[in-house]
């Protein structure tokens, strides 16, 4: 009889930090202790707290162990599983303080600040079930929504339910999902398609990967429901080849669903047929754009097509097609099961439900969080994310990756939903949330994203291909101190031109990082242009390193480590010091910062 479950995270983050070796160690140690029949090992998807991986959770108490190493496994087995003593040293800090006394051993993940404020709908099964076991998904009410849709609802009722729920596209655009389905449903054709966009290309976003890795069946179920609603019998999941674990688990899940008859002919004896195939993307950012994605599935070079005709009329292989993002699909079965009203009760007036954010950058808890729409940025960063490390000040958060903008510290109490973000010139995007502290240069950030879009522009239309390149060059000019005030106006003008004239979403949103930083941090641009200074101390060409002669103790570490021998001894000996101080020859200095990193004792070197 199984009395305890040990959940080991098998997401990409934890796998790369060694969770496979931990699983093996558990198998060995449990056998040694004779507990193999009493303890069940479960490999799950992402728990969300990736910064603390590899993560192991022991149920029924829910003890949350973080940063577990294979050599720790022996202790967990012998102490915890055999004797019932929690291995305190491995328990995540925040969970060790008992808050409620009645339950002994309060070390559960659910009591941490990271999880308390979250509300998991799309990620509900991630980190809870074994993604490679269809029975566990079914135990969590899996495929019940498909059963309900096929046996109790008409396609029109399914669409109406999704419409009423207020679900909007989670890939970034925020187009109402039910409306998208209803535009496709009436179109007559011999074949229609459902496409799932899992080409997660935004740097810093990884929620789609986590859903596919942790709960692949929820995507299969939702796509079948969508197929029923619009009259499609065939679906494609377009997923990046860079997500090998996600691809493998999804394929396994598809096979299991076929075996159970949940994909294939005459599902639930309703006369409805549906099947799925995976298509691998080669990692081009533009293939996340729906028309380019479909062109790529057809076997052609991924380039966008002009709209109209819209995919709902003439999409994949020229047939009516609905394309939704992974996270959008992850909500569908829950909506069918619990009703539109349940979903609409979460969130804000025009943005219903929850949103998953991938927290990254200068934040304590890097990972995945799911919160109701309308949660403020402050709650996400400080209450859930644990704040900024090293006592630094919050400066801005970048949302929506290279297509989005930034939210400055002054707007930290903005309630995050589609419309509020659009109103401040930002974009929800896919939910990447990169936190920046005072050491981040906003001009440099804009340049970083522009470099990305220059690389990823498919080259089909001129405004995007040439325009983004020119934008990048202007930013380069500014960060190297050669910019003029006229350049700032030209920069802005070109941004609007590219936005208005590009063929697809990639070009239309590419200038957003520049426009947003110009709007909120214009003084930083001006400092680069007028004062030839980078206030955050990032842009190398505007920095000067210098040694405070009176602080220098003459140890010579800086001179010894300088790669270009730009530092030499002077004859000056400061009061109270025994050795002569050093100085930097600015004409030789390459501003690598090695001297400053080595001057940890006297802290005599500064950059300006």
């Amino acid at each position: 009889m199984i009395r305890s479950h040990v959940l080991i995270c098998g997401g990409t983050g934890c796998t790369s930090s060694g969770s496979k070796a931990i699983q093996q160690a558990f198998v060995d140690e449990l056998a040694k202790a004779g507990l193999s029949d009493e303890i069940k090992l479960v490999q799950t998807g992402c728990f969300g707290l990736c910064a603390l991986g590899p993560v192991v959770i022991v149920h029924p108490d829910g003890t949350f162990y973080s940063q577990v190493k294979p050599e720790d496994v022996k202790d967990i087995v012998e102490e915890h599983l055999l004797k019932g003593r929690v291995v305190e040293r491995l328990v995540y800090d925040e969970t060790t303080n008992p808050t409620h006394e009645i339950m002994s051993g309060n070390v559960s993940l659910n009591d941490t600040d990271f999880y308390k404020a979250q509300h998991r709908v799309a990620l509900r099964n991630c980190g809870v079930i074994d993604p490679e076991n269809i029975d566990e998904y079914i135990a969590m009410d899996g495929y019940a929504a498909l059963g309900k849709a096929l046996t109790e609802m008409t396609p029109e009722e399914v669409i109406q339910c999704i419409k009423d729920s207020g679900l909007r596209g989670r890939g970034g655009g925020g187009f109402p999902t039910g409306v998208k389905w209803s535009l496709c449903a009436p179109n007559k054709a011999d074949q229609k398609y459902v496409v799932c966009n899992a080409d997660e290309g935004d740097p810093g976003a990884f929620m789609d990967r986590s859903v596919l890795e942790g709960d692949p069946h929820c995507i299969i179920e939702a796509m079948a429901i969508c197929g029923y609603a619009i009259g499609a019998t065939k679906g494609f999941v377009y997923v990046r080849a860079e997500y090998p674990i996600a691809v493998a688990r999804l394929q396994l899940a598809i096979n299991q669903a076929r075996e159970y008859g949940l994909l294939g002919k005459n599902i639930f004896d309703s006369g409805f047929d549906f099947d799925l195939e995976i298509r691998l993307g080669a990692g081009a950012f533009v293939c996340g754009e729906e028309t380019a994605l479909m062109t790529s599935i057809e076997g052609n070079r991924g380039e966008p097509k002009p709209r109209p005709p819209f995919p709902a009329v003439k999409g994949l292989f020229g047939k009516p097609t609905v394309e939704n993002n992974v996270e959008t699909f992850a909500n569908v079965a829950q909506i069918i099961l619990h009703g539109a009203e349940w979903f609409a009760s979460m969130g804000t007036e025009r943005s219903k439900g929850t949103k998953v954010f991938a927290l990254g950058g200068k934040i304590k808890h890097t990972g995945l969080v799911e919160v109701p729409m309308g949660t403020t940025l402050r709650e996400i960063i400080y209450d859930i994310g644990g704040g900024i490390p090293n006592g630094k000040k919050f400066k801005a958060a970048q949302t929506g990756g290279p297509s989005g903008g930034c939210i400055p510290a002054s707007l930290i109490d903005t309630e995050i939903d589609y419309d509020n973000l659009t109103a401040i010139g930002c974009m929800m995007g896919s939910g990447g949330l990169i936190v920046m502290d005072e050491d981040t240069c906003m001009v440099d950030i804009a340049k970083f994203f522009l470099e990305f879009t220059v690389d990823e522009s498919c080259g089909k239309c001129t405004p995007c291909r040439v325009g983004t390149k020119r934008l990048y060059e202007m930013l380069e000019k500014i960060t190297s101190g050669k910019g003029t005030m006229e350049d700032l106006d030209k920069l802005e003008e070109l941004c609007y031109y590219i936005k208005a004239n590009s063929a697809c979403g990639l070009g239309q949103t590419a200038p957003n990082p520049v426009l947003a930083t110009l709007k909120f941090f214009r003084e930083e641009y001006e400092a680069h242009v007028r004062d030839k200074k980078c206030p955050a101390g990032v842009c190398k060409e505007l920095l000067t390193y210098s040694i405070d002669k009176d602080k220098c103790i003459g140890c010579g570490l800086c001179a010894r480590n300088c790669p270009v021998s730009a530092i030499s001894k002077t004859e000056y000996i400061a009061e109270g010091h025994k050795l002569p101080s050093y100085e930097i020859d600015a004409s030789k200095c390459i501003k690598c910062g090695v001297c400053m990193a080595n001057c940890s004792k006297a802290k005599a070197i500064s950059k300006k």
Partner: protein, 126 residues
Amino acid sequence: MKSLAELQAIREKMRDKVVLREDSGEIRVVVGMATCGIAAGARPVLNTFVEEVNSHGLNNKVTVSQTGCIGICQFEPVVEVYEAGKEKVTYVRMTPEKAKEVVEKHLKSGKIIAEYTITNDRLIGG
């Protein structure tokens, strides 16, 4: 699979196996499993609780868990029953047979078996 009934059957069958991972138990049974407890025979007691709770279909309501030494080693195996809003009940000198009875009477029907509790033990109580 051709019917909702079959899906339902799989769900029922699997439900018991994953319910362990949900924080749903209204009642929490904690078995002392330190060296003293194990030496006194806590392992069969723990396993009996797990089996009996399952066979009585109480696994939605009852969580069986283990803990370390609570300091009354002479009374081991010790089993404590926590229930929200009620006083903790401590059973001492447990055996698999007593465990079966506790599941039957206390966990299922809410009747505390006073003679097995610590307050009734001849060394301390009444």
